[in-house]
Symmetry: C2
Subunit: 436 residues, 2 copies
């Protein structure tokens, strides 16, 4: 037990770094009361030591050399908040090798290089906290690792990218286009100048990679996840979805059948009366099934300086307690042993219901051609809408199918696409839900 | 580190005891993989060793003498699942004094005698886990203590009694009376033969007592909570509420303004588009605000053998890790120091909007009399519905008020009640929400 308490060094003084520092400073007394000993922010390192983050740091705390934190024998916990793969990975590995414990919010790094990082942490007997890497203020990492420890995890459905959810909400509420909603999100600081990671589903796939590792023991690898973004969604699709009784959300999906797990991120139609379809704006939500707990849904802010900072601080306090009480580095980091025979189902093998939108000539016989191709692949149509008559011109034709196999659908769409009466690329959305 | 692992003794082999035992036995291998060492169910004690709980216990596990568990030096964790105050309290105190750690699901005991129990645990350096005491599978204790450690907790709104929520849902969906819905709940095993604790809000108040202690450091005492049940609600009120755009839910409410906290349990009108008003049937949900995290909502099963058993098992594993890693009894149990100057606001001092239903003569001048009395107490009317004309006969008259003080409302209702044109007891419901 260190009487002086636990010393923390933060590397990266951006949004989350500032939120974390603000909480550690403002709540110092309360946190000491709750932990039973002081937790002291010794240094924050950032190349930019000039910009005003609106926080009054004590003199000498802000430095521009991360090496000073890594080499300070007094610092117990290193918090990596610079993001990206390099040099974040090197910083974490170096901290672990120097006997420090690590907290990070870096989902891209864990999804892509997590194996190295967890292996190093295990070798050096270090704790590594990453609550902030998935769904900000929703403590899903702790819930899966600790609260659900007596459960086999079933399906997971997550709205875990606030930017994409903001854009879809805006498109749905105001009927604006994807690009208009994106512009607004950028103006409000919800989307970055290059929004690719958020709108193309990559960020969600990073987070799903981490969840799938914790929940099912699927070794961390981003490549296994089918990933599709929301940039092809139009206000018309949102309108059609609504007429069928659905919302469109960018979902991270893990569906389990025995030892096979489907892992996919794509825009998804969800029944309006599912609780998760009421998750608006930048909020996140995760629906998760345990074989003992049944269905549960966790809802909260997924990003932002303070919500994410709060998650970082909860990791710092947990690890600080472990250090003080002699328990650090003793609990296995990943809750499911990696060797468990589970594997990711091939995307072409999944079955689901589909929403299909074609731009088809308004001409007798077109529907028969399309439904014929679908029928040949064992895909049957549940309902159909054709809007606006424009004789011999292209109009939107929308179909909802019964359950079908992804492989069959992909083949059928290829064939339909080559029909002369169909123009443009058809849109295919997958349907989920009815669980919560 | 005990190589043989951690030994557990359960006292009480009812619903939750059976769920806990089932998980410990069925998931033994997985739990060992996750914890890093075995956790062994050594004994379950119950006076009834004959009834079939549908679980195949290994020979010798089931015994009828709880003393054998309390006096077994090999048992590390005692799980109290008999419920009620006595002898549950004596069993827990005895276990703590023998150096054992304790897990309990007993909200009534903690709310009423928790001070003694936590003091004894602290004296003997024992851990005490009570995740299962509030909202079954929703890990709200862990979330408040650990995940929100960097937050000041703001308001809490909880649907934390599944029985009452089942009854209100049934009344709302099918238009049946309270007593019909209660009968159905009893037939399905959702309500006990004596449903008082559930339908009169006492069970919710027990749980709110525990939450208020963790979230605000309000010393455990059930008496401070204003408690009102749902037995006066009629299908007519649910219908009126719906016309005004509200649902009626039995809410446990903690509202914070500075150092004062309102703590109350009563049927509450909530806007239909609040997420929490979509919580149906036996499900529980807790809305909670942190100053860093912002709004969050947790939704899941609040009761039942497996959901509650899952929460008990998560406590067992947490404490087992603490024992194995040498950290048991070291972290403060209650997260906010009890001496913090915070107090419970007097019920008569709260302000809220109200729904009022009178049975009043259909006669000119009646509304003017009632609104006059309200106006004299600074209570102004927002909207009014009178249904069905029956000249000179009593008809329901429903008012929604703007914000008013509870004391004024109580006085006004007394006066209105004494009017000759009003018959029966008026119904007063309080309105909350708009937050999530």
């Amino acid at each position: 037990m260190k009487k002086s308490g636990i010393s923390v060094g933060i590397i990266g003084y951006g949004t989350v770094g500032a939120g974390t520092a603000a909480i550690l400073l403002k709540k110092q007394k309360e946190i000491e009361g709750r932990a039973g000993f002081p937790i002291v922010l010794k240094h924050i390192a950032d190349l930019d030591t000039k910009r005003d983050r609106g926080i009054r740091l004590p003199k000498g705390v802000l430095i521009n050399d991360s090496g000073k934190i890594l080499n300070d024998p007094d610092i117990d916990i290193v918090v990596e908040l610079i993001g990206g793969i390099h040099p974040a990975k090197e910083i974490i590995i170096s901290a672990l090798k120097q006997g420090k414990h690590v907290v990070t919010a870096n989902k891209a790094l864990l999804a892509e290089e997590g194996k190295d990082i967890f292996r190093t942490a295990s070798t050096y007997g270090a704790d590594i906290g990453f609550e902030a890497s998935v769904a900000g203020s929703i403590p899903i990492i702790k819930i899966v690792r600790e609260s659900l420890v007596g459960n086999s995890i079933g399906n997971i459905f997550g709205i875990i990218n606030g930017t994409a959810n903001y854009i879809l909400t805006k498109m749905s509420d105001e009927g604006v286009s994807f690009s208009e909603a994106l512009k607004e999100a950028q103006a409000l600081g919800y989307a970055e100048a290059d929004p690719t990671f958020d709108v193309e589903g990559i960020d969600s796939a990073h987070k799903l990679t981490i969840l799938a590792s914790l929940a099912y023991g699927i070794p961390l690898s981003m490549k296994k996840i089918y990933t599709e973004g929301i940039s092809s969604i139009t206000p018309m699709d949102i309108q059609f979805a609504s007429e069928f009784g659905y919302k469109i959300k960018l979902l991270a999906i893990a569906k389990r059948s025995g030892d096979q797990v489907e892992l996919r991120v794509h825009p998804t139609m969800i029944p309006v009366d599912d609780l998760i379809s009421s998750v608006h704006g930048v909020f996140n939500a995760i629906y998760i099934e345990g074989d003992a707990t049944g269905s549960a849904l966790y809802y909260g802010r997924g990003a932002g300086d303070m919500p994410t900072g709060s998650a970082v601080v909860s990791d710092i306090v947990d690890i600080a307690k472990n250090i003080q009480f002699g328990a650090a580095g003793k609990a296995p980091t990943l809750s499911v042993p990696e060797k468990n025979g589970r594997s990711v189902k091939k995307m072409e093998d999944i079955t689901t219901c589909y929403y299909l939108r074609f731009s088809a000539l308004d001409k007798p016989g077109v529907l028969s051609k399309i439904s014929g191709i679908l029928g040949n692949r064992n895909i049957s149509i549940k309902s159909m809408i054709q809007k606006g008559r424009k004789k011999e011109k292209a109009v939107p034709l929308v179909l909802m199918t019964h359950e079908a196999r992804e492989r069959d659908m992909t083949q059928a769409l290829k064939e339909i696409n080559s029909l002369r009466v169909v123009s443009g690329k058809p849109l295919r959305l997958r349907v989920e839900g009815g669980e919560a």
